[in-house]
């Protein structure tokens, strides 16, 4: 009756059992192997004492009744000693809505079936919810008793996040009737990952980003020719304007010198710079999404709004030059941006699993940026380095506005300290002349910007 922990493999399963099943082991999404673990729970330990107490009472009182009551100690000790955790062949299927939108609640229905031939009186399951999703309602846990072929379902609701989320193998615990032995196993189940990609960029709500981007006052001297030039306005001639831009028709008529301005010049060139460094990966509480995700959401909204307003918008990631879309405009550009938001690994929620320290190389970034491009930085501002770099970028001629989702709370002392530190950083940026939009976690970006805008024009 002495039991040591032994790792036991399930018997050779039927063809419809778990994948990667060379010897009964299951592989999870990180590639780790799981083998069954058999345990004695020790629940019935010491029940034989009942028999001894019964004997003692019976002897001292010369009464057979307590003596007889002691027999429970013996039978339950035998019951427990004989208790085994049955071999389990379980199948799991998960069903959920296809292609949900980000932020949408998705109900996952799990069906657990006893695919083996033995009855399982006590099955406990904890489903492997993907690491980056949290459960909003219901519970991914269940306990049931399953006859051979019997099927039971339960469901829970998760909040969809951008990205491809693989389900982990479910943790399943099987026991016999006595509960004296327990077998822990992992069941991978047949299910597709939960894929959530925004189909298109968010519609451009009137984000009133105009306060954020001032039209570039100077001009770039280039030989602009060909199509795509849209006449914008005329203005008074200033010495130094290229002769090719002079409005000769008006000159011929009225004798005045005036210069034509084209839309391309008037449009601002904006780069949305998203902070995807390790430090930015933080969140206010255990069920919220990450600050990087929030930043990306904000960037997508800003992109829509700016490109619809006619500005030339580009995308970059802070700390690396790999993620880069030069400013542009038009339908093609919009498509390219959508693809980038959808597929670029640095911008996806999955990248949290293999974060590496990204050295910020502002010089490299400045190299990439078109001169005088404005920057809108999306960052939670939870460390000092990003503040330094922001000031540097601003000072080198790229007007920088920061939109900062606020992942701090005041729940604990440490979090209050983090909040104050962030407030101080924002104040620091403002004192250096940069504009900062403090974006509270729950509010829509529109609200945050209009609040900030009111402040700037006050």
């Amino acid at each position: 009756m002495s039991e040591q922990r032994r790792a036991e493999t399930t018997g050779e399963p039927e063809p419809n059992a778990e994948p990667d099943d060379a010897d009964g082991a299951t592989v999870d999404s990180a590639g780790r192997l799981h083998e069954d673990v058999l345990r004695r729970t020790g629940r019935w330990t010491g029940v034989s004492a009942l028999a001894l107490f019964g004997v003692a009472f019976g002897v001292f009182s010369q009464n057979p009744a307590p003596f007889l009551a002691g027999v429970f100690g013996v039978t339950f000790a035998a019951y427990a000693g004989a208790g085994r955790a049955p071999d389990a062949h379980l199948d799991i299927e998960r069903e959920f809505e296809d292609r949900p939108d980000p932020g949408e609640e998705v109900e996952v229905t799990v069906a657990l079936e006893n695919g083996g031939e033995s009855s399982l009186p006590d099955v406990r399951i904890v489903d492997g919810v993907p690491g980056q999703l949290h459960v909003a309602a219901g519970t991914p846990r269940h306990a049931a008793s399953l006859d051979p072929g019997e099927r039971v379902t339960f469901s829970y609701t998760v909040v969809a996040e951008r990205g491809t989320h693989e389900f982990e193998p479910a943790q399943v615990l099987v026991r016999g009737f006595s509960g004296a032995a327990e077998r822990e196993t992992r069941v991978a189940g047949e299910s597709e990952p939960l894929v959530c990609t925004p189909g298109s960029l968010p519609p451009s709500t009137n984000l009133s980003l105009q306060p954020l981007t001032t039209p570039y006052a100077g001009r770039v001297e280039t030989d602009i020719g060909g199509d795509g030039l849209e006449f914008y306005a005329t203005r008074e001639y200033q010495p130094g304007d290229p002769l090719s831009r002079v409005d000769w028709n008006t000159r011929a008529r009225t004798g005045e010198l005036s210069t034509l301005e084209f839309r391309e010049e008037r449009a601002a060139s904006v780069v949305l710079l998203i902070d995807v460094r390790t430090e930015a990966w933080c969140r206010p509480d255990e069920s919220a999404t990450s600050a990087v995700e929030r930043s990306v959401e904000g960037a997508m909204q800003a992109f829509s709004s700016l490109i619809d307003a006619g500005d030339r918008v580009g995308i970059a990631a802070l700390g690396t030059t790999e993620c880069w879309l030069p400013p542009g405009s038009g339908g093609d550009h919009r498509t390219r941006a959508r693809e980038m938001f959808r597929t670029e690994p640095l911008l996806s929620p999955d990248s949290v699993d293999d974060l590496i320290e990204r050295p910020i190389s502002v010089a490299a970034l400045r190299h990439q940026l078109p001169s005088h491009a404005q920057i809108i930085l999306f960052s939670p501002l939870v460390d000092d380095l990003v503040v330094e770099q922001a000031k540097l970028l601003d000072a080198s001629g790229h007007l920088l506005t920061a939109v900062s989702p606020n992942p701090t709370t005041t729940a604990t002392t440490g979090e209050s300290v983090a909040r104050m530190e962030r407030d101080l950083r924002m104040a620091d940026l403002r004192r250096s002349g940069l504009r900062v939009v403090d974006w509270n976690w729950e509010e829509p970006l529109v609200t945050a910007i209009s609040r900030a805008g009111a402040r700037w024009s006050a």
């Binding site: 002897v59 904890v126 933080c282 699993d353 002392t413 209050s416 104050m420 101080l424 104040a427 402040r455």
Partner: protein
Amino acid sequence: MTTIERRIAAGIGVLITALGVATFLSPDLGAMFSADEFLLTIVGIVALVQGARIARDRWGSELGYARTGDPELIKGIPTPGEGFDVAMQSASSVHEISGRDTVNDRLEAVGVTVLQRRCGCTEAEARDRLTNGEWTDDPVAASFFDGTPWSAFPLSLRLRVRLGQESKFGLKARRAVGELERLWTRSTEATDE
């Protein structure tokens, strides 16, 4: 008891049971053996003692069922300020000094900056204020920076801390943070930055 001993004991037990049942069923057989009340009492005492030992062992043992994790939560992403809380926890233990340093450094940096912004002092003046305890009315908060000895505080406070969950370092830090927060947010609407 090892397995062998177990088997022997079980075997003997079964034999004696058979004997007992036999003498039960045919009293003549029983007459051959003589039994004592004394013997019976001994057996009773042994049973009681052994039962007590088994029960005590059960009392001391932990149940060995599998533990389950928390797949409902998002894993791997910290909350800002978690590091500070962890440092504070470890700072309360007498043997850990590193947590204390982290807490001291961060709180000092925040304190100096807050005083600079809110009270309009220079950095040196801010540090002075912290070490003098002039920046706040709360003596416990002030004591985090100005080093007032713990014995200077009223007995009731010291007793409460002794009996409670929080360490005195944790209490001072928490109060200091609270005071700095009040100072910082007090005039946020008034100042336009």
